[in-house]
């Protein structure tokens, strides 16, 4: 029992450097900044309430309230703004500016904890209020920002570290949150791959064709795509194997680099071929932060000392 506990705690709390955290902070800083900038002209239209937005955040928030009154939403700020005499558009504009500032704060490493908390909270509010216009990328951003907010910030590459001499206390806690991110990615890919394996269209390649020709992801001319149709079954099977095999092959020293490069390559292709580059970016950031550090240059050189037999 004692041995099991030691092994479990050894797995959950490995002493880690903060390189993974720096990658996560920088990556999510870029992600949050780009997320804000790409929505700057449509922010009010997508998230406005009744009589303003295209997606009716009022209805999305009402449906959310049926489930829970405590999930953050932009409606809280709009109500508060009304008491202060601010119009909805003004409140939404302030929320957008704050999210952009939080993204830049993460990018630079200024007030890391506060920036991470603000970015997580405001993005979550936007994702929940815009429930009808949210998609998978929003979930992964929430997951990444949630773990970043809880992790022992700042990292050594942040301005907080340089200027204020703030130092995280516990290296094992750094390892713990990296482990949480790693295990979560394993669950994500395993179930994503497993559910794809259940569909016949991924085995014969027809789902690859459908993915690439389905509006609004049809950015490559089908006339060009059809010339490479013989590749679709291979691509479909490779995607199923890569995703389902992720939790089994990402941990091994020999297979980790292959799997990580293939998964990142898959996300780059999704970004290029389907126009989902914000989705691709957040997935690459999460993967590289979780399994990238130590891949090229091992962080801890392990020296194994075996007792040698007597040589006569």
């Amino acid at each position: 029992m004692q041995g099991f506990k030691e092994r479990l705690f050894g797995f959950l709390f490995p002493a880690e450097t903060d390189i993974w955290l720096a990658i996560l902070r920088l990556g999510l800083g870029i992600q949050t900044t780009l997320y804000s900038l790409t929505l700057r002209n449509d922010w009010n239209d997508l998230l406005g309430g009744a009589g303003r937005g295209v997606s009716s955040s009022a209805v999305a928030e009402a449906l959310l309230s049926v489930e829970s009154h405590f999930v953050p939403r932009l409606g809280w700020f709009v109500t508060l703004g009304e008491h202060l005499g601010l119009r909805e558009e003004t409140v939404l504009a302030i929320a957008w500016i704050c999210l952009l500032v939080a993204g830049c704060g993460l990018l630079l490493g200024v007030a890391c904890r506060f920036s991470a908390l603000l970015a997580w909270f405001l993005h979550l509010c936007a994702a929940e209020s815009g429930g009808f216009v949210s998609y998978g990328m929003d979930n992964f951003m929430t997951i990444g920002l949630f773990y970043l907010m809880l992790s022992p910030l700042p990292d050594r590459y942040s301005l907080d570290w340089q200027w204020r001499k703030w130092r995280p206390k516990d290296r094992q806690l750094l390892g713990f949150f990296r482990r949480v991110l790693q295990v979560h990615l394993c669950v994500i890919y395993f179930f994503s791959g497993l559910t794809k394996c259940l569909g016949s269209g991924w085995w014969d390649g027809s789902n690859v064709w459908r993915s690439l020709t389905r509006p609004p992801f049809n950015i490559i001319d089908p006339e060009i795509l059809v010339r490479g149709q013989f590749v679709f079954p291979i691509v479909g099977v490779v995607i199923c194997l890569l995703e389902t095999g992720y939790p089994f092959f990402i941990w091994g020293n020999k297979t980790r680099s292959i799997w990580l490069i293939c998964i990142c390559g898959m996300h780059i292709l999704i970004g290029l071929a389907m126009g989902m580059w914000l989705f691709s970016l957040v997935m690459i950031v999460l993967n590289v932060a979780a399994f990238g550090p130590g891949l090229i240059r091992p962080e801890h050189a392990k020296i194994s000392m075996q007792p040698q037999g007597a040589v006569s």
Binding site: N41, V59, S68, F132, F146, F176, T195, G199, N207
Partner: protein, 203 residues
């Protein structure tokens, strides 16, 4: 050391939830089909999904404090959904066309539009929601919100007809034979500015 136990307990609970919700969604996908499993698996998956849902408190009253706390945590952590994207098969997509009727008898056609490509992806997601929701009132309300946004851009329009349909994508072989994507009418709604009441003309 006590701190480590707290973190380990949170880890176990957190991943129990993630794993359970992922299993639930997988069972739901099998139950809804079609999958590579035989049809007899559907009823088993349906029962198993119900059992997992009950275990996760999803059958408790919406006002139940445990359920509210659980739902709140799931949303805060971004783990309220499973990860079956484009699975088991890639779903079809939908199109919404607005027919704008001007007072002088002129008719123009518009698609829901936004400024950026990032928002365009979100509008496509909204159309999927409109197409898949089983609730007529919600579908009508979402179409109405989109129609209202068109109205703001064209305030002189007298009436708007919203025509909603699904897009049927050709297979590779059909494409080679010259078939292209086709549009199947599903619903139509007429809106006028005076009362903004929709008159649905289903299918």
């Amino acid at each position: 050391m006590r701190q480590k136990y707290v973190y380990a307990a949170w880890f176990a609970l957190h991943f129990l939830l993630i794993f359970s919700f992922s299993c639930r969604e997988t069972l739901l996908l099998v139950a809804q089909g079609p999958t590579i499993f035989p049809a007899s698996f559907k009823s088993f998956s349906q029962k198993a999904e119900t059992a997992v849902s009950v275990a996760l408190g999803q059958h408790l009253a919406a006002s139940n404090a445990i359920r509210q706390a659980l739902v709140t945590y799931l949303h805060l952590a971004g783990i309220e959904t499973g990860y079956g994207y484009f699975a088991p098969n890639v779903p079809g997509s939908y199109r919404l066309v607005f027919e704008l009727h001007y007072p002088d008898g002129r008719v123009e056609y518009e698609l829901p539009s936004v400024s950026g490509a990032a928002a365009g992806l979100r509008i496509a997601g909204l159309l999927d929601t409109i197409g898949r929701t089983p609730y007529d009132a919600l579908r009508e309300h979402l179409v109405k919100m989109l129609a209202a946004s068109i109205w703001r851009e064209h305030p002189e329009v007298k009436t708007i007809r919203a025509i909603f349909g699904s897009i049927r994508l050709p297979s590779v072989h059909e494409f080679e034979e010259g078939k292209r994507e086709s549009y199947q009418f599903l619903y139509a709604y007429d809106f006028s500015l005076q009362n903004e009441a929709a008159k649905p003309n289903d299918r």
